[in-house]
């Protein structure tokens, strides 16, 4: 049993704008091939859900581990 009431946090990590995103590009090309038209750019990121005691250190976690600031940007929100 956790001794604290967990807070749910959702972190979204994605390629910085302007950085080549081969995954997004592959998906963008695959969609019309399946008959889905009208698709512009596609970017593929990563969603990380965590239970934490407080949101205080989320930025530190993102900068040091969850995202690589050289190539990725992140945002996060408290879900519940």
């Amino acid at each position: 049993m956790l001794e604290w009431r967990p807070m749910k946090v959702r972190v979204l990590v994605r390629p910085k704008s302007g950085i080549l995103d081969p995954q997004g590009e592959a998906v963008r090309r695959a969609l019309p091939a399946l008959g889905f038209g009208g698709v512009g750019s596609v970017h593929v990121g990563r969603l990380i859900e965590m239970e934490v005691e407080s949101a205080e250190e989320i930025d530190g976690m993102c900068r040091r581990l969850l995202a690589n600031p050289t190539i990725e940007e992140y945002e996060w929100e408290v879900v519940s």
Partner: protein
Amino acid sequence: MRIGVTVFPGSNCDRDALYAIERTGAAPVELWHADADLKGVDAVVVPGGFSYGDYLRPGAIARFSKVMKPLEDFAKGGGPVLGVCNGFQVLTEAHLLPGALLRNVGMRFVCTRVPARVETAKTPWTSLFESGDRLTLPVAHNEGNYFADERTLRELEDEERVVLRYLDNPNGSLNDIAGICNAARNVVGLMPHPERVSEEALGSDEGLKVFESVLSFAGVRV
């Protein structure tokens, strides 16, 4: 001379690196990821593989292993460090080398041999080469597409810190970069695998010279 090879869960080129080192006449030393010191080695190789299953990003978890703290101190003190493939990714994640390695442009794992050119002999790991030397080296990676911002890229070129350049770019890396070094030139990262071509029975021994270079650099006759 004693040369260490770090071993993380998921490393798979550590044995090849130890073998290549042995062939140069140096003493190979295994450095376990949970070791708190480098056992007094004179140089360190961070080998290829899939440390921690490439979870999160290649090298992102390995970079916080216990052995990385003494390795970072060693590198900052000028000790020769070579990262190959996943080892290169670990060194960029640890900020010992600038930039990052993105997914290959073709979205495919590339496993082949590529022609490449040594761009500088001014590193411990290329000291026996001459700039312009051509090599054919194995590559085997999914994230080998070197990226750095424009300023960093210009610095790398102006300071002759591109160590190895593809002659036939397999992954879309900027400026055909296959390997770079840090500003102090003691830390080198290469995507191709010199340790996999360390004797004729493996198809070529062209890669052995990388390991002989660090011996020669340290004043050992090879």
